[in-house]
Every structure is written in structure tokens, then in C-alpha cells.
């Protein structure tokens, strides 16, 4: 809508700006020429007033053309890909048209008044009449305003109820779509529920019905309603995934929740698209719609100021198909193996008795992970029986994630793969320069427990060396 250029946004933006400047330059030259060169003095008045309006108009046009600058970006609310975001976007457009109409109407009258009744030089006519007011006009205008507000109010109320109440959708119940058989007792008739827990400055995503936990990158199925329980352990955060839903805050001590859904249900989609053909064909078309338009990697961010690194508390949501979701859940449960296909039992047998046997960057990295760098104190890696930390994000299958440090360091290619090289660099940066990447975070400094506080035998500060950071990074890259 409204001058959205879906092509390369920045390019269009720059062209738009250039167009504005050219237009202003040319038109002012033309008007000047008409005014002075052709000596059209007697219409000086005409030009004087209209000249000013002209500047006004062109600047407004310029601003409007700015809207051609990329409105289709990663977190754009204009690209609503779920019923909640759609309802909210619809309301945005209703209010937008109402206020644009008001702006033109009221602004227009203001402009006319200012031009029509401006003082002319040498005007000796008597002073204007003492108009003190006109109750009829007032009441009419008040009535008109109220009417416009009703136009906004009615859909607002509807949308408040819609976006708030959990939808009753049999197809979203776990038993209807979840491919696994490990749903918790009594939860089969419920929709998928994720506990979103906010920390300074990362996100934990727990799936209590499925018995798993992950961090910073949420995985949800397409076309199904999902309930999010929003909790915080420290300060207020806010979960904002713009293309799926407007934000709701995570307030400590308060049981906020919201429902989200990526993509429409089959019924809703059919309503919108009116497909033809057999039921199976329709279902196929629906699946294609989900795959083409909804399966994607979405961007989100914390939207309530939560302290020093609030700006760096991003998150991601991968919307996937049911099977992929089921596979992911079972992968998380299985967790990560010890390096080189060893069993954890064997690995720890070596680690305890003869760690020097475990050579190579990967083993060395894991040894540091469990030992000097104390990663396991705060982080858990499913499968690893001694990495059970809960203070920090769960790192199971960390290397599959497309970002680190809560979405701040990214390594996703255009076509949705992990950029291995960039990933390595990000790991190094995150471990080596933690405080720089995320000032104030607990991984670096936590009353003696952070990697920025590592000490040697004499109690002197002894941070991880470049070699050590390299090895840990190599190890972490194996957490696929």
C-alpha cells in the first residue's frame, strides 16, 4: 500500500530523494523565470502566496516519497504474516485513513483561512466583525469527530478481544498436528505452549509440554496457534516479533501471556483465497502457501528498556513445518554427542584420568568448556551429563543457530544456511570480547564467575588466550 517499493529499498529511496531535489530545483527556477524575466509583476501577489504553498507542497511530497524507502524490511509491521499482526495492521490502516482525511480536511481549511484572510497592505476597510462563536458549528464539528472516533472504536474493540483470547482451534491442538509421541500427560488437547523467560539480556524458551528448553531462537510450527507464557527473572522486558504479533511485556511477578500464530489456518486461508479443486488439492495449495510465505526466519527484539544492553537483546523465530518441528524436538532431546562419536561416559573417563589423551582443537575446546573456562557452570548442553548450568542459555545444537548473543552476532546466509566462517568469527568475538559485544553481561563479569574474571593459581587475572578462544570456538562449532 501507499508507495511501497518492494525492490531494493535503499536504491529506490535514493532515487526518490534525488527526484525531489530535482523537482524543487527545476520548479523554483521556472517560477523565478516567470516572475522576473518575463516581468509578470502584476501577478506578484499570485506568485508570492503560491510560491510559499509550493515550497510546502514539495517538502510534503519529499516526505511522502521517503515512505518509498524500504518498508518491507526484516521487522516491518507492514508485512503481517499472522492473524494477530494482521488484525493489528488492519486497525493501523483504519486509523491512518481517518487521520489522513482529517489532516487534509482540517489542514486544508487552515491553509485556506490563512491565505484568504491575510492582511493586505494598505487595507483601510473596517475591522472584521466580532464573531464570538457559532454553537451550531461547534456541535456539528464535535458530532463529526465523535462519528470518526466510532469508526475507529468498533473495530478496535473487536480486535482487542480477538488478539487477547486464546483461539479455539482444533487443528492447533497438539494431538492434531504434533508428530512425536512425547507430549506431557494431559496436554494433548492444548495448543503448543512456550514459556518465554526474559533475562538481562537473553531469552530462554521452554517447551514444558515437550520437556525441552532452548534459547534466543524460537522454533514454532506454521499455521498453528501457540501460547506464550511471558515471564521475567529480573526486570521488565517485552517480546516483539512484529510480523507475527504486537508486543506484550514480560513483567517479573506477573503472569502475562499472549497467543501468536505464524500464517493462517487452512480455513482462514481458504476464506481469503477461495481455492478451487479437490480437497486434497486445496490442502496441497495451503501447504505450499505455508512453505513459500510463512516458513521463514523471523526477527524480533526486546522492546522495553531493560538496562545497559537492552539494544542488544534480540531474538529470532524460525517457523517450520510440523515434521521439521517434531524432528527438532527429538534432536534437542537427544542432545549433542561427545566429540568424534565417543560416548560421554568414555569421554569423561578419559577426561578424569588421562585428559592428555584427548587432543585436537575439538577435544581441547571441550576440556576448556568443562574446565578452565567454566562454561558448564552456567550453560547446559543436552546429552553432556556434566553440562547442566541453568544461569545462562541452553547451548544444545548451538551451531545450528544463525546468531549468537541473543541475535546480535549473525551468521546466516541469504539462502538460509549457516555461514561457517562468519560463525567462527562470531564465536571468537563473543568469547574474547564479551564485554564489548554486550556491555554489562554476566558471562563476562559475575562476582568472580565470569570469563572476564578468570584467575590463575596465584590469584592473578588470567583471561582466556587467543589459542584457548580458538579451541572453544572450534568445539562449539561442532554442536550441530
Amino acid at each position: 500500500m501507499l508507495l511501497i517499493h518492494e525492490r531494493n529499498g535503499r536504491y529506490t529511496c535514493q532515487r526518490g530523494l534525488l527526484a525531489v531535489f530535482v523537482y524543487v530545483f527545476v520548479s523554483t527556477r521556472v517560477l523565478n523565470y516567470l516572475k522576473f524575466r518575463l516581468h509578470i509583476f502584476h501577478v506578484k501577489q499570485f506568485f508570492h502566496g503560491y510560491f510559499r504553498i509550493h515550497i510546502l507542497f514539495t517538502s510534503l511530497l519529499g516526505l511522502l516519497l521517503l515512505s518509498g524507502c524500504n518498508l518491507n524490511s526484516r521487522m516491518s509491521t507492514f508485512k503481517a504474516r499472522g492473524p494477530v499482526a494482521e488484525a493489528q495492521l488492519d486497525l493501523f490502516y483504519i486509523t491512518l485513513w481517518v487521520v489522513v482525511g482529517l489532516f487534509i480536511a482540517v489542514g486544508g481549511v487552515l491553509l485556506i483561512a490563512v491565505i484568504k484572510f491575510r492582511e493586505k497592505k494598505g487595507d483601510t476597510s473596517p475591522l472584521p466583525s466580532h464573531g464570538h462563536g457559532n454553537p451550531l458549528v461547534e456541535i456539528g464539528l464535535i458530532g463529526g469527530s465523535v462519528l470518526l472516533l466510532v469508526v475507529i472504536a468498533v473495530p478496535t474493540l473487536r480486535a482487542i478481544w480477538f488478539t487477547h483470547d486464546l483461539p479455539i482451534q482444533p487443528e492447533s491442538e497438539l494431538k492434531a498436528w504434533y508428530p512425536g509421541d512425547d507430549v506431557a500427560e494431559g496436554e494433548e488437547s492444548n495448543i503448543l505452549t512456550v514459556n518465554v523467560i526474559g533475562y538481562q539480556w537473553w531469552w530462554a524458551f521452554e517447551y514444558p509440554q515437550l520437556g525441552i528448553t532452548t534459547a534466543n531462537e524460537l522454533i514454532i510450527p506454521a499455521g498453528k496457534a501457540v501460547k506464550l507464557n511471558l515471564r521475567s527473572v529480573d526486570v521488565i522486558h517485552s517480546f516483539w516479533l512484529p510480523q507475527i504479533a504486537g508486543k506484550v511485556d514480560l513483567i517479573p511477578g506477573r503472569a502475562n501471556y499472549m497467543w501468536i500464530q505464524a500464517g493462517d489456518t487452512f480455513e482462514k486461508w481458504a476464506e481469503k483465497n477461495v481455492p478451487e479443486g479437490s480437497e486434497a488439492g486445496q490442502k496441497l495449495a495451503y501447504e505450499n502457501y505455508l512453505e513459500d510465505e510463512i516458513h521463514d526466519y523471523y526477527y524480533g527484539q526486546c522492546a522495553e528498556f531493560c538496562g545497559e544492553s537492552h539494544a542488544r537483546m534480540l531474538f529470532r523465530a524460525s517457523v517450520v513445518g510440523d515434521d521439521e518441528f517434531g524432528a527438532w524436538v527429538s534432536d534437542i532431546k537427544t542432545g549433542n554427542q561427545a566429540p568424534e562419536g565417543m560416548s560421554w561416559k568414555d569421554w569423561y573417563a578419559n577426561y578424569d584420568k588421562s585428559p592428555e589423551v584427548l587432543t585436537g582443537d575439538v577435544h581441547e575446546g571441550l576440556k576448556l568448556f568443562m574446565g578452565r573456562a567454566k562454561c558448564a557452570t552456567c550453560h547446559a548442553v543436552n546429552g553432556n551429563p556434566r553440562a547442566l548450568g541453568v544461569a545462562g542459555p541452553n547451548l544444545t545444537h548451538l551451531a545450528r543457530r544463525y546468531s549468537l548473543a541473543a541475535g546480535w552476532l549473525n551468521h546466516r546466509t541469504e539462502d538460509g544456511a549457516v555461514d561457517i566462517e562468519q560463525q567462527y568469527k562470531n564465536f571468537v568475538k563473543w568469547i574474547d570480547k564479551t564485554e564489548e559485544v554486550k556491555p554489562g553481561n554476566l558471562m563476562w563479569k559475575a562476582n568472580g564467575g565470569g570469563i572476564g574474571e578468570l584467575i590463575d593459581a596465584e590469584g592473578e587475572l588470567s583471561l582466556l588466550t587467543e589459542e584457548e578462544v580458538h579451541k572453544i570456538s572450534i568445539y562449539l562449532q561442532t554442536l550441530k
Binding site: S59, P128, H132, E138, I160, I251
Partner: protein, 662 residues
């Protein structure tokens, strides 16, 4: 405690005030009246005009401070992942920018107008309680000092001279960094350092100043009007002052309590907002916004009052629908208390509360719209003169309208779920605050500065000021609507590339510097006026209200003889109206004009607050004996007030020349 019978003074005939000698107060101390020292004169003044000038000068100073903070913010956001300032410094910048602009710039600038104009507009000699007025001013200064001294502590910390201990050990933020509304639990001692203490105490002290001033103005407006100045004959600006003052006295207690509860949580171990003991962080939000929403009307109503004076003056027509404009101001004030939770739409209020606040917020658009219609109605059929005040007032109507429109868009809670806490909100409130309040206040300065200093504006720089400011405002904040809609959250120190935010941010930064340049031009214009302006005369604009009958600058006693009013737009009727609508004057009773005496005690009492503020903060930082410093401050305050009461109001008489009408 007070009495008027002690003021038997020697007064010299025929207005030669320099011969008057200061006298002793009831306490036996010399009153600082008729001081030869300019500094003593201004420090102890009780003259509403001088107080107004001081408020104005301080407000402009802090406007510059807040503006610099804004420029630093915008410079940091010029490009993605910029490292101009650290995250902590950035958080301090936006916190201080908001707090400074609201409490130290716009509110005091409005106060400057209240102080200078209200007694003149109602035909009074001063406010009801002149020393209380002085107290408000110096308390405001104390609050400003408490807030900004934090920068010194941060600098000291950076230099290694100061490290907080006690409950604030390990925290490195000395300057407030919790945002201007400092949500719990981020404002708790566990998450922020002494910066929050400076913020709490600074705001608390500023609240005292505002409350005292508001009570003073309500009593003044209700009780001190000249004979014949009925309520419905008062200028609209005075009405807006009255409504704003009521808003202050009913809204500030909420934040006073919130701040007090927070102070107790941080310093005395209470659990108002401590989740582990059952405290509810959302209580802070409710209390803050019960104050916070009326606060924004406190910021805009005076501006609307100013514009309601200027538009009629330069349309040569009375205000269209005076009664409705006054009434809608009152309705806005009243409804302003009913909509606070629209700042909390994303906190999970529940459907019913969300719906209620959504509808009430929409409702408040109606009286606001009424005012805009009436302003346009004033222009319609008039004779519009494009003087400096008029240009800014017209700019106000246009820009405030745009801000109001984005406000209507926010009122729909589901739409707001996307807009809240994003740059869309920032666009909205800057349009209403800069495009609204600031433009109107600038218009007011253009209008009334000739009255204050007696000098007229020089040249046509004001046209450039207007153009650059309006362009700067729009270039900075219009793109922010889009920024918000494409997902950029607010209060972010930096952002990643690739989200489509880069170009917009760049444009906004350029706009910000343009806006700053416009303000610079404005300050230059003020300087030129005050230094080189031609004498303005009593009524350089051919205006409508009573203050324009006085001399420029206004004599210390305002009116030589108390005017008797017979109509609204008293001066206009006097100049151009029927015979029976002219202003007449009360007969003199021979005693001369009674003037209130000046006093040191309001200043002394206010200074106590500085000790309280810094004492409590340093106590939190573990510095020894600081609790006693705070108690000392309270004692200074108490003693100051007691002596103030005991010294008696004093007073002296002036006999101005008979032929001077003003």
C-alpha cells in the same frame, strides 16, 4: 503569625524609590529591600516579573543542555553499530534528555509565562504569596542542581576520584539511566546505582516547587482579580494556567508517593516493588502514569493558552468560542486523569481495562479537536498578520495537529501493540512537544519579550528561525513514524545494519542538527532584541489583553491604579469598544501602592533541599555521615520556613507619578 499592622514605613512622595531605606523585620534582621547590589536584589526578589525572567533564563539554559544531550543521541545513532559513546552513557543521555526537557525546560518555561503574565492579565500587583513564589523558583533550582550534579560524580568516577560503596557498590552509573519514567524493577538498588537516587530526589524536589507554585497561582487567580475581572472575562492564558495548576496539585502526589516508595525500597528495605517479597512492579507504572498523563497536559495546556492569545491578536478578531475553548481545556484536564493506562497497553491489563482506556483516550481527542476548530474559526473572517508570534502559532496549530493524529493512532490498543516502545511513539510525542509546546512557547517569547525588556525584535530573522525549526522538526521526526513501523524499538544504544533502519536514522540525525541550528538562530534573535532592539512601547502589537496597557518594561508595581474591568478582551474594548466598556480606575486612598518586602528565607529554605538530595544519594553510596547531612538539609528547610513565617510580610509603599497611567 502574620500581621499587617507592623508596616508603618516612611515613604517618600512622588515615586523616588531609590531613597527608600530597608527596614527591620519582626525578627530584628534587616530586610534585603532596596538593595544596591544587583545580585542581592535578584536573589531575594519576590517580584513575579523578576521571578518569571529567572525561570525563563534557566529554562532556556536547560533547553540547550537537553538539546545537546539529544544531539549526542542522534550522533550516536547516525550509523549502525556506532561507538561514539558507550551503552551506559547513551542510556544516561536519553534519560537526562527526557527528564531535562520535561522538568527543567518546558515546565519552567511555562512557569516563566505564568509568573510574568498572570498577575498582569488579571490586573493584580503580584501573586497571592510572593515569598512562596520565590521559594518555588529556588526549589526548582535546587532540584535542577541535584539532577545535574550527577554528571560531576560520573566525571569524578571516570577520573578515579570517586567509587560508590555501600548498597551501590559495583554499580558504575552515577547519572540517572533508567529512562525518564524509570520503571521498576530496573530502578531498584539491585539494578541501578546512585544515578537513580539523584533522579528520585531531584524529581521529588522539583515536585515540591511545582506544587507550591500551583497553589499560589490558584489562589491568585481566584482571589486577586481586579474588580470587574470576572472569571469568564479572564484571558484564556490565565484560564489555562488555572487548569494546569489544578492538574499539578492533583497529579503530582501520585509521583511523589511513587518516588517516596522507591526511595524507601532503595534505602530502607521496603518491598513496594520488590518481586521476591510480593511487590508488584506494575504498581510503579500505574502510579507514575497517573501522574505522567496529566503531566503531558500540564505541558501542552499553557502552550494552548499562549496560542489562544496570539491568534486573536493577529487576526484582529476575538477568540472563536471563548467559553467552549475554556470548557474544553477543563474537560481535557479532567479526562486527562482517566486515560493513564494507555501508556500500559502492552502490560497485559486484560480486555476490559484495555478497552476502557482505549475508548477514553479516543474521547479525549474531541475537546482537543474542538480547540483546533476554534483556533481556525478565529482566523476565519479575520485579518491575519504574519508577525513572528503569529507564524509560530500557525506552525503550532499545524504541527500539533500532526502529533495529535499519531496520538489517535495510538489510542487503538491493538494498533498500539505494534507502535508502543518503538520510534513511532517518539515521533508522536516529539511532534506534540516540540511542534506543540515548544513552538507555542517560542511564539509566546516573540509576543511578550518586548513587554518584558521593552525592546522590539530586530529584523526578520524570525522567519528563518521558523523555517529552519519547522524543517528540522519534520526532517527529524517524520521518518521516525516509519522507523517505528518497520520495527525499530526505542531507547536502543545502537542497531544492526540490514533492518532497513540505516537511511532513516541518518536523515533523522541530519534533521536534529538542523533543528539545533534553528534554535541557535532563535537565541541569536533574542540576543539581538535585548541588546539592540528599538524601544517597544506599551502595545507594539495592538493587542487585546490587559498586560499590554502597562509600560514596557513593566513597572515594579504593575498598575499605578487598580483597573476596573468591564469586558472580556479588556484592552481591545478600551481602545476600540463602546464608551461603557472602557477601563476605569479605582480612586487612590492616599496610602500609595503597597509592595511586598524581599526576603532571604525562601532561598535559604530551598537550599536545604540540596543537602537532602546529595546527602541521601551519598548515603546510598556508603559515604559516612551522609544521612546526617540529609537531616541537616531538612532542618535548614524547616528553620528557613519557620523564620520566614516569623519575619512577617513587611512591605513598603510607593507613590508613582500621578500622570503615569501604568
Amino acid at each position: 503569625m502574620s500581621s499587617t499592622i507592623t508596616e508603618t514605613h516612611t515613604t517618600i512622595e512622588h515615586g523616588q524609590p531609590h531613597v527608600l531605606k530597608p527596614e527591620r523585620s519582626n525578627l530584628g534582621l534587616m530586610r534585603p529591600d532596596h538593595s544596591k547590589s544587583v545580585i542581592v536584589d535578584w536573589l531575594t526578589t519576590v517580584d513575579h516579573k523578576k521571578i518569571g525572567i529567572m525561570y525563563g533564563a534557566l529554562a532556556l539554559f536547560f533547553f540547550i543542555v537537553g538539546g545537546i544531550e539529544a544531539l549526542i543521541i542522534r550522533a550516536q545513532l547516525f550509523v549502525p553499530e556506532n561507538t561514539l559513546i558507550s551503552a551506559q552513557t547513551y542510556n544516561q543521555m536519553f534519560t537526562m534528555h527526557g527528564t531535562t526537557m520535561i522538568f527543567l525546560a518546558v515546565m519552567p518555561l511555562s512557569s516563566a509565562f505564568f509568573n510574568f503574565l498572570v498577575p498582569l492579565q488579571i490586573g493584580a500587583r503580584d501573586v497571592a504569596f510572593p515569598r512562596l513564589n520565590t521559594f518555588s523558583l529556588w526549589t526548582f533550582v535546587a532540584g535542577a542542581i541535584i539532577l545535574n550534579v550527577s554528571w560531576l560524580f560520573q566525571a569524578a568516577h571516570a577520573l578515579g576520584w570517586f567509587t560508590p560503596g555501600g548498597s551501590a557498590a559495583g554499580m558504575t552509573d552515577m547519572v540517572p539511566a533508567g529512562g525518564w519514567f524509570g520503571y521498576a524493577p530496573l530502578n531498584a538498588a539491585e539494578f541501578t546505582g546512585i544515578g537513580t537516587d539523584f533522579w528520585v530526589l531531584g524529581l521529588q524536589v522539583l515536585g515540591v516547587a511545582s506544587l507550591a507554585a500551583s497553589m499560589n497561582f490558584i489562589v491568585t487567580i481566584i482571589n486577586m482579580r481586579a474588580p470587574g475581572m470576572k472569571m469568564m472575562r479572564m484571558p484564556v492564558f490565565t484560564w489555562m494556567t488555572l487548569i494546569t495548576s489544578f492538574l499539578i496539585i492533583f497529579a503530582f502526589p501520585a509521583i511523589t508517593i511513587a518516588l517516596a516508595e522507591l526511595m524507601f525500597d532503595r534505602n530502607f528495605g521496603t518491598n513496594f516493588f520488590r518481586v521476591s517479597e510480593g511487590g508488584q512492579p506494575i504498581l510503579w507504572q500505574h502510579l507514575f502514569w497517573v501522574f505522567g498523563h496529566p503531566e503531558v497536559y500540564i505541558l501542552i495546556l499553557p502552550a494552548m493558552g499562549i496560542v489562544s492569545e496570539i491568534l486573536p491578536a493577529f487576526s484582529k478578531k476575538p477568540l472563536f468560542g471563548y467559553s467552549i475553548v475554556v470548557f474544553s481545556g477543563a474537560v481535557i484536564g479532567f479526562l486527562g486523569f482517566a486515560v493513564w493506562s494507555h501508556h500500559m497497553f502492552t502490560t497485559g491489563l486484560g480486555k476490559v481495562a484495555t478497552a476502557a482506556f482505549s475508548l477514553l483516550t479516543m474521547a479525549i481527542a474531541v475537546p482537543t479537536g474542538v480547540k483546533i476548530f476554534n483556533w481556525i474559526g478565529t482566523l476565519w473572517g479575520g485579518r491575519v498578520r504574519f508577525t513572528a508570534p503569529m507564524i509560530f502559532s500557525l506552525g503550532f496549530v499545524w504541527m500539533f495537529m500532526m502529533g495529535g493524529f499519531s496520538g489517535i493512532m495510538h489510542s487503538s490498543a491493538p494498533a498500539d501493540a505494534q507502535q508502543q516502545d518503538s520510534y513511532f511513539v517518539i515521533a508522536h510525542f516529539h511532534y506534540v512537544l516540540i511542534g506543540g509546546s515548544v513552538l507555542a512557547l517560542i511564539a509566546g517569547i516573540y509576543f511578550w519579550l518586548p513587554k518584558v525588556f521593552g525592546k522590539m525584535w530586530v529584523g526578520k530573522l524570525n522567519n528563518w528561525v521558523a523555517l529552519v525549526i519547522v524543517i528540522g522538526l519534520n526532517v527529524t521526526f517524520f521518518p521516525m513514524h516509519f522507523l517505528g513501523l518497520i520495527g525499530m524499538p526505542r531507547r536502543t544504544h545502537t542497531y544492526l545494519s540490514g533492518f532497513g533502519w540505516d537511511t532513516y536514522n541518518m536523515i533523522c540525525t541530519i534533521g536534529a542538527f538542523t533543528l539545533a541550528f534553528g534554535i541557535l538562530l532563535f537565541l541569536i534573535d533574542i540576543y539581538r532584541c535585548v541588546k539592540k532592539g528599538e524601544p517597544a512601547g506599551n502595545d507594539p502589537w495592538d493587542a487585546r489583553t490587559l498586560e499590554w496597557q502597562t509600560s514596557s518594561p513593566v513597572k515594579v508595581y504593575n498598575f499605578a491604579k487598580t483597573p476596573i474591568i468591564t469586558a472580556r478582551d479588556a484592552l481591545w474594548e478600551h481602545k476600540y469598544g463602546a464608551e461603557n466598556r472602557k477601563i476605569t480606575y479605582e480612586k487612590e486612598d492616599g496610602h500609595g501602592i503597597h509592595m511586598p518586602s524581599q526576603s532571604w528565607f525562601p532561598l535559604i529554605a530551598s537550599s536545604g533541599f540540596i543537602f537532602v538530595g546529595i546527602g541521601m544519594t551519598m548515603r546510598h553510596a556508603g559515604v559516612a555521615y551522609m544521612g546526617y547531612v540529609a537531616i541537616f538539609g531538612l532542618l535548614v528547610l524547616g528553620l528557613g520556613i519557620a523564620l520566614w513565617a516569623l519575619e512577617g510580610p513587611g512591605g513598603y509603599h510607593l507613590h508613582p507619578k500621578e500622570d503615569a497611567e501604568s
